[in-house]
Symmetry: C2
DNA sequence: CAAGTCATCTTGTATATACAAGGTAAATAT
DNA sequence: ATATTTACCTTGTATATACAAGATGACTTG
């Protein structure tokens, strides 16, 4: 028995919840009770309860006790992964084509999103991420030149923009929104779509300690790409 | 100073990372060093480091030390919230209309998704979630009758299907996928769309301890609904 | 009877201590 | 010189103890 004691207690609790034996909002044994049942110290029993609480499986309140969390309270999460990693994970052949790499004058919405002056110069890149030579996602990115001076000199077939930006301006925050859009004709060409079809668009803004670094638009055909996520009591 | 000591240490560390003073993969003071710096016991310093590690902000390895996690390793997460809560959160007027509530014979894809026999009887509901009397999302749901016998007798304008199902068959797991689709004519009618437009579709399958409970399709117009999420070093 | 107090349960914070186990580098033996 | 041992750092697990603070119900007091 090499499994740590606190982990054994966690398993015991999770098993009871997963099996349906303990229902939502039902009370769980107190730290002292668990300590006695498992012949451990209170601090060890406490660790099991605390970690399961942190994981959202239990809820606790001082003076009252510990309870099975209601499923509703758990927010469901979706992961946005790196597309290159995703392709490689399913043994696809990943490649990347650079379509545009330029400096442009920022129109109002771009300037606002990047936190720079309107009509100031910003960098823009458009890449296509391919799986088995078929376009899977278009990445259009606007970059704050003050924070990534030599952006235009990079070879993005070797190093992704995200990786390069992480190295020159360490990221401290990112915000995403996901929506369904209809691609314009330019985007259809980039994605090699004969018939118009709805696309998933992820907007990602990234911050570093010195300000907004970049603003990216990731567009993928609805027929080829989806986001997935799952939520469980495991752990 | 009523802030707990372990929380003060956490703040100190997070501030250093957010400000950019400590870079990715950089080494952080050890438990003993922190304990001395802050005049606390090792266990208290340890708690700060452990909780930040659990939150994905630090990584630790036995024998080596503690390090600032690389931003890349953090998966970006999107939250799928309850739509009624979301509407209420922005002070919208939430309402719900029941369009269909019936038992049908399961065709193959539905039967497979629910884990029941093909052509067996399953329940089906179609609801429209409205914000200020405008359709915001259509929820089409197929339910395993064995696990929610009296599903068809419920009043879903008062209690959402998700809430009802949680009460009769406590959920233990959920899986989601998000994609962009073009709605068919029936869906356009339900969503009150004059012009066809791309929609976000969330597929949600939920499990309880006794099997697959239900299979829901949540469709929202791309122009009215988006998923948001953000990733930060806060906490 | 009603209001306040007290005892006793709960979780929360904090410390001191002990040993286990992983990793590195310097000291030692071959 | 190379290989092994040893010392010393790190994090990981576990215990015993103390007091703080929230919640509840019984008991006491006005």
């Amino acid at each position: 028995m090499t499994i740590p004691k606190f982990a054994q207690i966690k398993q015991f609790i999770v098993n009871n919840i997963r099996s349906g034996a303990w229902l939502e909002n039902q009370r769980v044994a107190s730290e002292n009770e668990l300590a006695e049942q498992f012949s451990v110290s209170r601090m060890t029993a406490r660790r099991a309860l605390s970690e399961l609480t942190e994981a959202g499986i239990l809820t606790r309140s001082q003076g009252l006790g510990t309870f099975v969390a209601s499923f509703k309270s758990q927010s469901s999460l979706l992961e946005i992964k790196n597309i290159a990693d995703e392709v490689k994970a399913r043994n696809g052949n990943y490649s990347c084509t650079v379509l545009v790499l330029e400096s442009i004058s920022a129109v109002a919405p771009i300037a606002i999103a990047l936190g720079v002056e309107v009509d100031s110069v910003v960098y823009r890149s458009v890449l296509v991420h391919n799986e088995n030579e078929q376009p899977l996602q278009v990445e259009e990115r606007f970059v704050n030149p003050a924070l990534a001076t030599s952006y235009l000199q990079q070879d993005f077939t070797a190093l992704t923009p995200h990786e390069y930006l992480s190295s020159v301006a360490p990221l401290t925050e990112a915000r995403h929104t996901v929506e369904a859009i209809m691609p314009n004709s330019e985007m259809c060409q980039w994605l090699n779509l004969y018939h118009e079809e709805p696309c998933l668009q992820v907007i990602r803004r990234t911050w570093s300690s010195s300000g907004i670094v970049s603003f990216a638009r990731l567009v993928s055909p609805g027929s080829k790409y989806r986001l997935g996520g799952h939520l469980t009591f495991k752990k």
